[in-house]
């Protein structure tokens, strides 16, 4: 879990507004009327992508899926738990509401009446049989949607998925005691908790009912309320057993409405109970009205070691912040955090030592620390087995998507590289394909890779700039050379036909952009004959080959490519233009390079240089061709007295895995494979020398 060690990280509690048309679909679904499940699934995925993009754009650090596919924070579990019936027309009124309703009857009458027009009909879940978890598919979809959405954005440092605590959504009519019922529900929910943590996301346990249990409803005995709260906490902790606290955040709140609330119990009564729950961070929405929450003092409090507090004030626009672990919480009207608690609770027996006092830098969704013993690799890379070609360098591909899979196809033809590992963060077709080819493949992220023996020497990053920025320090620490296909650009910009030899020993090299791989060799071919005061490239790619990440960050392409034209291509000033063309069938990638050259430039020498360079690129990108001879234009005043050479290129993909029109993607994987090949070859020479 990321902590606010450098700056204050921002997050929120989970639910974000759903698009209207999705609510309409949800309404049909919830009322049991016919609806289109495929459309629903598609709209949920789109809505998740949208809210993730918006959270990233808003600058939030720790984000989530906004619960787009869920009808509510608690009752979504009705589709995920077996053993319940639903009774329509009944509501489970939170106890803390009754006094407010008594105090403000007109307001709450209006508030409640709104529910009659709400998305879901009023229903209560009644337990009538053994409880079991049945939501694997829905949960898998949640995880996949969030992961896909996160792959398209940069910015957030971590992500979480909410899941409900065992209390608050149902009534027991099956188990002999409330305790047995709670234990059964908790055990079932544990499956969801584990899957979320294993997916690499933080688990947020939503526990609004904790405060309801503690609320003085004017009828129950305080000792009885405390006993029930303890039972609830025990059940929840049992469900969380073995999961590192560092992967869990707990959220509770005073009611879910924005209505007047005068009767809330003091926060000081809640906090000691809340802190018994084994989590690494706590968030709570507190009414801003001081008296009910102040606990009467105003002393400075201290949060238990290695725990974080995310504070939000209630209101329509909560202001949220989280404080660094173990730092004093200085805001005045807070309760005594240390009351009745001097150290964090001991983990349940059998749990691994949690990283509770050592804030770790984890990658949100690409490298989970598994709470259980990791699945054994299905096979060992042949590089350490029998019949191994010891001269080959062992490599891993991180990111089993289209790019990673296409790269694997290319590297399988390599003389010097043996790809032993394919690493993902979720089971996918890409991992399956890799396994069929005999690789050890895992959905357990970088943690898994770094546990392998032998470790790879080379790692190809085919994830996202965001993921690479998180992974790069860990590669460096483990001594792996990283070849980065993302726009992260942490290491030197490398174009194999231009400057690879200068960066053979760099621990991390960046493959720039597709436009740069296609055009920078040409700019360099010209600038190695004559000075090039200005070079300009136009890359035209099929819309279909430009993913949402590229689209949302089109300036990133322009900037990185312009910089490469200067730094790698040798032009004094570079400009890049990208055009996305939606024509069907998709167009093959086209690139045009214009270079300003001196009026008296030796055009034959330039043409010869360009042709040589095209041949060099063709060695690793066979579909790279000149559409025509370089075209020369006489010097013009409007070109500051320079003449111009124009070069027209086409890049057809090899069709290894990606379609042929996607030459823009092919040239990236081909260039990365070439970089790996040369580095591996050199390593082999060093070994034999």
């Amino acid at each position: 879990m990321q902590r606010s060690t450098e700056r204050i990280l921002t997050t929120h509690v989970g639910s974000l507004a759903r698009p209207h048309d999705l609510l309409e679909l949800m309404r049909e679904k919830e009322h049991g009327r016919p609806y289109d499940p495929q459309r629903f699934a598609k709209r949920v995925a789109e809505a998740v992508s949208d809210v993730v993009r918006r959270q990233a754009a808003a600058g939030l650090d720790v984000i989530t899926d906004g619960e787009q596919g869920k009808v509510s924070v608690l009752t979504y579990v009705k589709e995920r738990l077996a053993g319940f019936d639903q009774v329509e027309g009944e509501t489970l009124l939170p106890p803390s509401w009754q006094r407010e309703i008594d105090d403000f009857p007109e307001y709450y009458r209006g508030y409640m009446s709104k529910y009659s027009g709400a998305v879901a009909p009023m229903k209560v879940m009644v337990c009538t049989g053994p409880v079991a978890y049945a939501g694997q598919a829905a949960l898998h979809t949640d995880i996949e949607n969030l992961r896909a959405a996160l792959d398209e954005v940069d910015g957030p440092v971590e992500a979480f998925l909410p899941s409900t605590s065992p209390s608050g959504f149902g009534r027991n009519e099956y188990y002999a005691s409330e305790r047995d019922y709670l234990a059964a529900v908790a055990e079932a929910m544990r499956e969801e908790y584990l899957a979320i943590v294993e997916s690499g996301f933080l688990l947020q346990v939503d526990d609004p009912w904790l405060i309801e249990i503690l609320t003085d409803d004017g009828r129950s005995d305080p000792a009885e309320r405390r006993r029930r709260a303890a039972e609830h906490v025990d059940a929840l902790n049992h469900a969380l057993r073995g999961i590192p606290e560092d992967r869990i955040r707990l959220h509770t709140c005073y009611g879910l409405n924005h209505g007047p609330r005068l009767n809330d119990i003091p926060l000081a009564d809640v906090v000691p109970v809340m802190l018994r729950i084994n989590a690494g961070a706590y968030s709570s929405r507190w009414p801003t009205r001081g008296t009910s929450t102040s606990g009467g003092s105003g002393r400075t409090r201290r949060c238990p070691t290695a725990r974080s507090c995310c504070r939000a004030c209630s209101g329509t626009r909560p202001t949220t912040s989280s404080t660094p672990s173990s730092s004093p919480i200085a805001s005045a009207p807070t309760p005594d955090w240390s009351a009745g608690k001097t150290s964090s609770p001991a983990p349940t027996a059998g749990s691994p030592p949690g990283p509770r006092s050592r804030p770790r830098c984890t990658r949100p969704w690409s490298g989970p620390s598994s709470p259980r013993s990791p699945r054994a690799p299905r096979s060992r890379p042949s590089a350490c087995g029998e019949g191994t070609d010891m001269t080959k360098t062992l490599a891993a591909i991180v990111g089993p998507g289209n790019i990673g899979t296409d790269l694997l196809a290319k590297l399988q033809r390599s003389e010097h590289i043996e790809v032993g590992y394919m690493v993902g963060v979720i089971e996918s077709d890409g991992l399956d394909r890799a396994r069929k080819l005999g690789l050890a493949a895992s959905a357990e992220g970088l943690d898994w890779l770094l546990r392998q023996d032998p470790l790879p020497r080379l790692v190809f990053e085919a994830t996202s700039a965001y993921a690479h920025r998180a992974n790069a320090p860990r590669y460096a620490e483990a001594g792996l050379t990283a070849i980065d296909l993302t726009p992260a650009a942490l290491g030197p910009l490398v174009c194999p036909a231009v400057n690879l030899m200068a960066h053979l020993d760099a621990p991390n090299v960046n493959m720039i952009s597709c436009g740069a791989q296609a055009t920078v060799p040409i700019v360099h071919a010209v600038s190695s004959v004559v000075p090039v005061p200005y070079a300009e490239i136009v890359a035209s790619v099929a819309s279909r080959s430009a993913g949402p990440g590229t689209r949302a960050n089109i300036d990133e392409f322009t900037h990185t490519t312009s910089r490469a034209i200067e730094v790698v291509g040798g032009a004094e000033r570079g400009k890049a233009i990208i055009v996305l063309n939606p024509v069907e069938p998709p167009m093959i990638m086209r690139d045009t390079v214009f270079c300003a050259i001196p009026a008296d430039a030796d055009t034959d020498a330039i043409t010869a240089s360009i042709e040589r360079r095209v041949a060099e690129v063709q060695r690793y990108v066979p579909g790279y061709t000149l559409r025509a001879e370089p075209q020369y234009d006489e010097a013009r005043d409007s070109w500051h007295g320079n003449a111009r050479v124009a070069v027209f290129l086409e890049v057809q993909g090899a069709g290894d895995y990606l379609p042929e029109y996607a030459g823009n993607l092919d040239i990236m994987t081909a260039a990365a494979a070439q970089v790996g090949e040369v580095i591996a070859q050199r390593r082999a020479q060093k070994v034999t020398a």
């Binding site: 949208d50 035209s540 949302a552 400009k575 559409r627 027209f648």
Partner: protein, 329 residues
């Protein structure tokens, strides 16, 4: 006497779309004179940018004679009531360009994409809003997609922060009902949240007629250029729009006499040629091809911005001709 409320806002793009016809050679004096005349005639928004938007000065689209930021600055200085707008085509211009334009005093950001690619504009709308600019989306080559898709793409722009989205008939290829249906579909999708705009071209001489239809179906912003200044057959002429809407009793706030004077006395003297519906212009509208592309480009499905393909097509045609001449296949 009170001034009747304006019912339609005319944006003049002589100094942006007209830049194509000027081969991007506008001088500061021409910009000052044009802005002065338009401002005096009551035009509220005047667009000043390279023809291909901010950062368009290039080999591919033609270099500007005067840096566009200098021209924008001149426009801002000259305007007393009018806002200066800039066009930005993501992929050509960048957020840095927009910041520079804002710094120079531009206050309306018009973000343009091909009609099916609105999602590349999201970050630019975000920045424009952050910079406190009025935001307008520009869905170009509107004839290339359906009314329903135009509505979907307009929605993306509105969600990204556009306060108005234009249906842009870049090729002058929309024929009456085609324009009407697109505006209607966009209005149904975003009309309750944002305005609709229409930008017409004269290839099939329908720029003004399409603009009237657009207004009648909900559009509240219409583009024009003095003397139709623009590539090929040019834009809907601002002076004709002013006269036509005045005749229809639609209040635009423009002084028709002042706009006519701006066209006749300010722009006409520096016109390189009257934009006209010559064969190539009509073929463009007929085949639905952007700017000076030939029918060949229509077959290949090129979009706005791919001017580099002109040389390429020319080279390919030349080699085909050579092959034909030698009898080879």
């Amino acid at each position: 006497m009170t001034t009747p409320a304006r019912q339609l806002r005319i944006t003049d793009t002589t100094l942006r779309d007209g830049s194509h016809a000027m081969a991007h050679q506008f001088t500061e004096e021409q910009v000052r004179a044009t802005v002065h005349a338009l401002d005096a005639a009551g035009v509220e928004v005047i667009e000043v940018t390279h023809g291909d938007g901010l950062g368009g000065s290039s080999f591919n689209y033609g270099f500007s004679r005067v840096d566009e930021i200098e021209l924008i600055t001149a426009g801002v200085q000259e305007a007393t009531q009018a806002k200066i707008a800039v066009l930005l085509v993501p992929g050509i211009g960048t957020k840095d360009n927009l910041r520079d334009a804002r710094e120079a005093g531009a206050s309306v950001a018009r973000i343009a994409t091909h009609c099916t690619e609105a999602d590349v504009s999201i970050q630019h709308f975000g920045l424009a809003r952050d910079l406190g600019m009025e935001t307008v989306g520009f869905l170009m080559m509107a004839h290339k997609t359906s009314p329903a898709e135009m509505a979907r793409q307009a929605r993306i722009m509105v969600d990204a922060g556009a306060e108005c989205v234009y249906c842009v008939d870049s090729a002058g290829a929309l024929v009456l009902g085609d324009a009407q249906e697109r505006v209607q579909a966009m209005y149904a999708e975003i009309g309750h949240q944002a305005e609709i705009g229409f930008h017409g071209h004269q290839n099939l001489s329908l720029g003004v007629a399409n603009s009237v239809l657009a207004y009648q179906h909900g559009a509240r912003q219409i583009d024009g250029a003095l003397c139709a200044l623009g590539a090929g057959a040019g834009n809907s002429p601002t002076e004709v729009l002013a006269a036509t809407f005045d005749h229809l009793g639609v209040v635009t706030g423009l002084d028709v006499g002042g706009v006519l004077a701006a066209a006749e006395e300010v722009v006409r003297p520096f016109l390189p040629r009257w934009p006209k519906m010559d064969r190539s212009a009509i073929v463009q509208g007929w085949a639905g091809v952007y700017s000076s592309f030939l029918p060949r480009a229509g077959e290949l499905g090129y979009v706005g911005g791919q001017e580099d393909m002109i040389i390429d097509i020319a080279v390919q045609l030349a080699s085909e001709r050579e092959l034909a001449a030698t009898g080879a296949r």
